[in-house]
Amino acid sequence: MIKLTINGQPQTFEGDAEMPLLWYLRDEKDMTGTKFGCGMALCGACTVHIDGRPARSCMTPMRSVDGASISTIEAAEEDRIGAAVQAAWIEEQAPQCGYCQSGQVMSAIALLKEKPSPTDEDIDAAMSGNICRCAAYPRIRQAIHRAAREIK
């Protein structure tokens, strides 16, 4: 049996340990904020935090999250930085179709937790794994800078 916490809630799982965390969240926990985009850790749409580190849940098997603590977009607003990122995203009107945005927000939170005032270069390093086919990139960049100002 795999034990983990999701957004602070303890959970147990007894199914196929090879199932990626993504499908557990989406199909079993009905937490559909975390998106499926590529299934190969290439696009970032499925980004969650595992023990505080951003990770692509589409390639993270359940067996590897035994004992882990997961946080997802659904709980982002409970976090000070998360809330600031979401607010900045709205202020900058960043999303277009929105499908990549849960992942973008989760990656941005991870970045700002580590570096509260990131440079453009830092943004490139931390955010380039998140594809946005709508190419909302200029606004995403602005929104990260805005959130950085807010959390000062």
Binding site: D27, G39, Y99
Partner: protein, 742 residues
């Protein structure tokens, strides 16, 4: 879509028709609950006490307004545009409204602009939503307001002219106040105002339309907290997820399938052979209780494909074939003046053959659709872009009358045209799977989910093309004549002796003053289906046209901006946009030079598409290692009346980024097998390559024109022109890749 639309100042073309003014809204309202679960409630009858003056507006007893969108929200801000128009005419705040997707109904929700172009459907495409809604939605809201005011006037027994509305509160000079909600009952009893009695606000009194803070995107809050519901997110009781194995060689048939291993996986409910046809590939579908199990089951199948069937298309061979065709006369699409055979003294002949690849849409949300077959009909849940066409295709697949098929519209995680497939391929596939499942005793709704591999390999690509151009230049650099031949498949099924307006758009209608111009078309009837991709024919014709204009200018050493100005002298609208972008980009002052052997230049391009004129200047750096970076793109736009400037800027930024992906993308086939599978070999622009984009809008009072697509076409030529300015080499084959030729 390739709809040539001309919008006039007159609103006559967009009268609300009778059915649009009705009660009896057989609507399905979508309510999104916490945790991303979705509840769908069929509303055969209206909520008690709602005021429904027409098919686009509903107002409840609290004065809360529901705006019904007949268009899909796939990222273009359509819902917000509609909300802006409704809020403007109703004088309500963003907090007092929500936008929901409409059901499929061709009569009520026909897209007026598409219909004028010959596509009598309810659909979203061709950047037509705002153009279509500009009159419809404003009138719908204004008539609601007029009725509510009349009702208030009747209640308070005061002249209607003495009433005012602000933030959804009706007030009278006497101090009487009340919300819209108080008057909905009496408003419902009033006669509908005649179409010509509806008066719309004057532009000078706008408080929301055209204002940067007029209306924030209504869909964004739910898109930053994970609550927005896409087709991928829908889960219904008893629903099964279907993951399909498509034939590697496109349209090959299944010879045999060993499903033993798949059926052993707990949770796999059925393995079904799905016959293909010339629209859907068919294959073997695995139905399971969740997506992972279905995928695992699919991967566990051992399928033998009938090697004697299926496509043998090979893109490299096709280019050779196309180039041969391109050397021969084609169907005349446009012919002005006379072609000049030989270059005049001091002149030159430019022979330029361009090769442009197939492109996949690859929206962020891979294709999917949820189908439920009921006893007497069927229901579709989808990020629905092509409502009534998909409805008809689905009905046909099931042998039902179209009205027996109902549609719930959801958000789409991008589409770029993929969800408006003219053949409704993925809808038919989902329906066929559900149908065959039912025949095999597997009941319940079925959600078809394409993995990214099925999405990239899922055909209906932007067609590959060869463009053969012969341009004769006079000694002074002016164009003596230009012959432009396009070889490709038609975007929309078209017989060989007819012009495909999609394939050819932006060729013969070039605004440039070129007296002698001949445009020809060769249609190739291949077995790899194609369809429109965001900005359609302009994705290739803008590239060819605008790169050639630079090459022409270069012959006589003219500045490409000034050369374009001269050719556009008769077109003030174009000139305004071109001058605006040149001014903002500081075209006339030199670009700061790069360091470490970097070389920099600007490139310019302009294109009208979907009624909108966009000019762009790209600043590009070529590094010492011959890689390049697009540093910044300046854009100028004339899209008529601006409804939501922030959204326009956002769409143009997105258009630039979408176009820039073309620099590295291609779909190739070998022996009928698509070579690309996922973002590792079909790359998309990432943030570290994304340029800064600045957008400037021309002030205009013309009716709004499109904005979802027009940002795309000028980007690639502007970038290529900048690169050519640096390297002195003209680029003729896409994708360019990550490096330029030294």
């Amino acid at each position: 879509m390739s709809i040539k639309h001309s919008l006039t100042e007159s609103s006559e073309g967009f009268r609300l028709n009778r059915r649009q003014f009705l009660g009896g809204l057989g609507a399905l309202t979508l309510a999104v609950g916490f945790g991303g679960r979705i509840a769908v409630a069929a509303e055969g009858s209206l909520q008690a006490g709602e005021f429904v003056p027409n098919a686009f507006i509903r107002i409840d007893k609290d004065g809360f307004v529901t705006v019904i969108s007949s268009y899909l929200e796939m990222g273009q801000g359509t819902f917000t545009g509609l909300a802006t128009l409704a809020a403007e005419e109703l004088d309500i705040t963003p907090e007092q409204l929500k936008v929901v997707g409409s059901p499929a109904d061709a009569e009520k929700y026909m897209n007026p602009v598409l219909a004028a172009g010959g596509f009598k459907v309810q659909g979203t495409g061709g950047s037509t939503a705002m153009a279509g809604a500009w009159t419809t939605m404003r009138k719908a809201a204004a008539s609601a307001r007029a009725m509510l005011l009349q009702a208030a006037a009747n209640t308070w027994k005061v002249p209607v002219t003495e009433l005012q509305v602000k933030d959804g509160i009706v007030s009278h000079t006497s101090g009487k106040q009340g919300s819209y909600g108080e008057f909905i009952d009496s408003a419902s009893a009033l006669p509908l105002p005649a179409d010509d009695q509806i008066s719309l606000k004057d532009k000078s009194t706008y408080t929301r339309v055209g204002k940067a803070d007029g209306m924030m995107r209504v869909d964004i809050p739910d898109k930053v907290n994970g609550k927005a519901i896409f087709t991928q997110d829908i889960k219904l009781p008893g629903m099964l997820v279907a993951v399909i194995a498509h034939p590697p060689r496109k349209f090959a048939k299944v010879a045999s399938v060993d499903k033993t291993a798949a059926m052993k996986i707990p949770g796999v409910e059925a393995v079904l052979a799905i016959p293909g046809d010339n629209i859907i590939q068919g294959g073997v579908a695995v139905l399971a209780k969740n997506t992972w199990i279905a995928k695992k089951g699919r991967d566990a199948l051992t399928i033998t494909w009938d090697e004697s069937t299926g496509s043998r298309e090979d893109s490299e061979a096709l280019f050779t074939e196309y180039k041969k065709l391109a050397a021969t006369r084609g169907l005349e699409v446009g012919n002005k003046g006379q072609q000049v055979e030989e270059a005049p003294d001091g002149g030159k002949v430019i022979e330029a053959v361009f090769e442009l690849p197939y492109l996949a849409h690859s929206p962020m949300e891979p294709m999917n659709a949820l189908v439920e077959i009921t006893d007497d009909g069927a229901h579709l849940w989808n990020g629905e872009q092509w409502h009534t066409a998909d409805q008809a295709a689905m009905a046909k697949e099931l042998g039902l009358a179209p009205e027996k098929v109902t549609v719930t519209q959801l958000y789409a995680g991008g589409s770029f045209g993929r969800r408006a497939c003219p053949m409704s391929d993925y809808i038919i596939e989902a329906t066929r799977i559900a149908k065959i499942a039912k025949q095999n005793g597997v009941t319940g709704p079925v959600k078809l989910v394409w993995m990214r591999e099925e999405d990239v390999g899922g055909l209906f690509y932007r067609p590959m093309t060869v463009h053969n151009n012969r341009i004769v230049l006079n000694a002074d650099g002016s164009v003596a004549s230009w012959r432009w031949r396009v070889v490709g498949q038609s975007f929309f099924p078209t017989p060989e002796d007819q012009v495909d307006s999609g394939l050819m758009e932006g060729t013969h209608e070039l605004p440039y003053a070129i007296d002698n111009m001949l445009v020809e078309q060769h249609l190739y009837q291949g077995d790899i289906p194609v369809s429109w991709l965001r900005s359609v024919g302009h994705t290739h014709t803008a590239l060819v046209g605008e790169v050639l204009i630079d090459e022409i200018a270069a012959f006589s050493g003219k500045d490409p901006y000034q050369y374009r100005r001269a050719l556009l002298a008769e077109h003030p609208r174009f000139l305004k946009v071109l001058d605006l972008v040149a001014e903002k980009a500081n075209w006339n002052s030199p670009l700061p030079q790069g360091k470490n052997g970097e070389r920099r230049a600007r490139g310019i391009a302009i294109r009208e598409s979907f009624g909108t004129v966009v000019a762009q200047v790209a600043e590009v750096t070529v590094r010492a290692d011959n890689t390049y970076k697009v540093d910044k793109v300046y854009c100028a736009v004339d899209c008529g009346q601006v409804i939501n400037p922030v959204n326009i800027a956002s769409q143009v930024e997105g258009g630039v980024g979408f176009g820039m992906s073309f620099l590295r993308q291609q779909i190739t086939l070998k022996g009928g097998v698509v070579q690309q599978t996922n973002f590792n070999n079909y790359p998309a622009l990432r943030i570290n390559e994304a340029p800064a984009v600045e957008t400037f809008m021309v002030d205009s009072s013309n009716p709004p024109t499109g904005i979802g697509e027009p940002g795309v076409p000028p980007t690639v030529p502007a970038v290529l022109n900048a690169i050519s300015a640096i390297t002195g080499k003209f680029i003729r084959r896409m994708p360019l890749g990550a490096h330029v030729q030294a």
